[in-house]
């Protein structure tokens, strides 16, 4: 038995043209579907890009300032600009490069012109405070600590952390997700998702090659911890006597209720982000290939369609809807989204549980659209169809021979 598989965007145009001429109607249909989807996406991006180009005053220009262990940003010293040469200070260059990679990711992958979509300047402040174990987005710019050297090291060393912080700016300019409870945990998750995508994109890593960790580089070598968080395995990023065990849940049945206060991490925004993080990881691995392609586009379009009070359920429903708009109803991408949310305990609204279970089963067992190269997938289908045709032809020949034998008697 053969299964049909929708293939999108990864087959060269000349091959698609060839496939359109195929004698096989299934092959022609698959090629046509691919061309239509690709053309639609290209059209949408071209239109967005034309608007961006018309209003890009800052062009995402980078500037790095040195706080020299102080806490007051306005007194920091300018140490590198786009026109300047590389610094003798590695932290300056890492911050500069990390800002650039994140800017380029948004531009090249999602056609977004910097944080605000209008070319906003990117300012980074390094060497903030003394032994400061953190990096943050202050609402306008990014601030890096050096770490205490005992547990944490320089936060400029983690490109996913830089992507995470700058994505807080993107979220602020799009959905404006409130920073508490579920909208806050989604806010944190979106930053983790696009933070890790910046890392995967810059290293050209497939979903299988990626480590799916956030901040693997921020700990000193003596600390027994993989990272600050894991999208692949929330709750398993660390477990040691100094930090305790990673408290992130990976399923709604482990959702952590905390007070909406500073002490309660505003309802556990850094804790419950594990649930949508895991949903993204599952979506990406089921689709396969590169996570910055279909999975990133589905999440980015869903972010833009969200509001300040979007809950987990709302966001899950939106990703399902966006997957359909981008890749078609019941496409492998949409089924991957459905199965992923179901696996973290969130059922897409309006899909009866029985149907959802069947569709999810299909998504889990199809292995995803990108688990093999698109051309290889099509070749496999063509081979299978050819084998079927050959077998049929042999059957017909055998039948004819049999009939001829009977007639001769």
């Amino acid at each position: 038995m053969t299964t049909t598989r929708r293939v999108h965007c990864i087959i060269p145009p000349h091959l698609l043209d060839k496939l359109l001429e195929s004698d096989d109607s299934e092959v022609r249909k698959a090629a046509l579907d691919t061309m239509l989807t690709t053309t639609r996406l290209r059209g949408e991006r071209a239109i967005r890009a034309s608007f961006i180009g018309a209003t890009a005053p800052g062009n995402g220009r980078r500037t790095v300032f040195d706080c020299r262990q102080g806490r007051v940003l306005p007194t920091a010293t300018l140490v590198r600009t786009e026109e300047g040469t590389a610094s003798q200070d590695a932290s300056v260059n890492r911050a500069f490069d990390g800002l650039g990679l994140t800017r380029d990711f948004y531009h090249d992958v999602l056609q977004r012109d910097s944080i605000d979509g209008l070319g906003m300047r990117l300012n980074g402040y390094i060497h903030f405070d003394r032994m400061y174990n953190n990096a943050f987005w202050d609402g306008q710019q990014m601030v890096f600590g050096d770490g205490d050297g005992r547990m944490f090291t320089d936060f400029t060393g983690a490109v996913d952390v830089i992507g995470h912080e700058l994505t807080h700016g993107v979220t602020e300019y799009t959905a404006g997700l409130a920073y508490h409870d579920q909208p806050g945990a989604l806010n944190e998750s979106i930053s983790d998702v696009f933070g890790t995508l910046v890392k995967q994109w810059s290293a050209h890593q497939s979903v299988d090659a990626a480590d799916w960790l956030i901040g693997a580089e921020v700990f000193t070598p003596g600390i027994d911890a993989d990272a600050l968080r894991s999208l692949k395995a929330p709750g398993e990023a660390y477990d040691n006597p100094e930090f305790g065990k990673d408290p992130q849940p990976a399923h709604m049945n482990k959702y952590v209720n905390l007070p909406n206060t500073e002490r309660g991490d505003y309802g556990g925004v850094h804790i419950n982000s594990g649930i949508p993080n895991k949903a993204f990881y599952l979506t990406a691995t089921r689709i396969g290939g590169y996570a910055w392609q279909a999975p990133a586009l589905i999440w980015y379009e869903s972010l833009k369609a969200s509001t300040s009070q979007t809950q987990f359920q709302d966001f899950a429903d939106t990703t399902y809807q966006k997957a359909e708009e981008l890749y078609g109803a019941d496409s492998a991408e949409q089924l991957a989204v459905l199965a992923a949310w179901q696996d973290v305990g969130i059922h897409i609204s309006g899909i009866p549980t029985g149907i959802a279970r069947t569709r999810s089963h299909t998504a889990r067992h199809n292995g995803g659209v990108g688990h093999e190269d698109g051309v290889a997938a099509l070749s496999k289908q063509i081979k299978a169809l050819t084998a079927q045709v050959k077998a049929l032809a042999e059957d017909v020949t055998a039948l004819k021979s049999s009939n001829a034998l009977k007639s001769s008697r």
Binding site: R71, R130, M131, N133, N134, A135, F136, W137, D138, G139, Q140, V143, D148, R150, F152, F155, V161, H164, E165, H168, E172, Y179, N187, S191, G215, V218, L228, R229, Y238, F243, G244, D246, P247, Q248, L258, T261, E262, R263, D265, Y266, V269, H270, I271
Partner: protein, 102 residues
Amino acid sequence: MKVSLARHGGQAAAIRLQQPPEVVDTDTLPRSAATELTRLVAAATASAPAVSDRPGRARDAMSYTITVQDDGVTTDLTQSDTTMSPEFAALLDWLDKHFTRP
């Protein structure tokens, strides 16, 4: 007088949630250090703004709660990286140095 410091939020918020506050008792300090800490606490308390307990537009910034227990009275001072007064910063710096000294 007992002074404790709890850190909240930041990239490592999940780790900090599980860590107990650090505490210093002025009775255990040399006289000059106790005097200096008392002075810093008084200055930070006098400059404390109305508590806002909201993150504003900052994301992943850290906040700090300094709790002072003196003569049966407990006072909480909470400020964040982006809204900290110079007096609070001076007290935080003293405590940081005290808790991280070898």
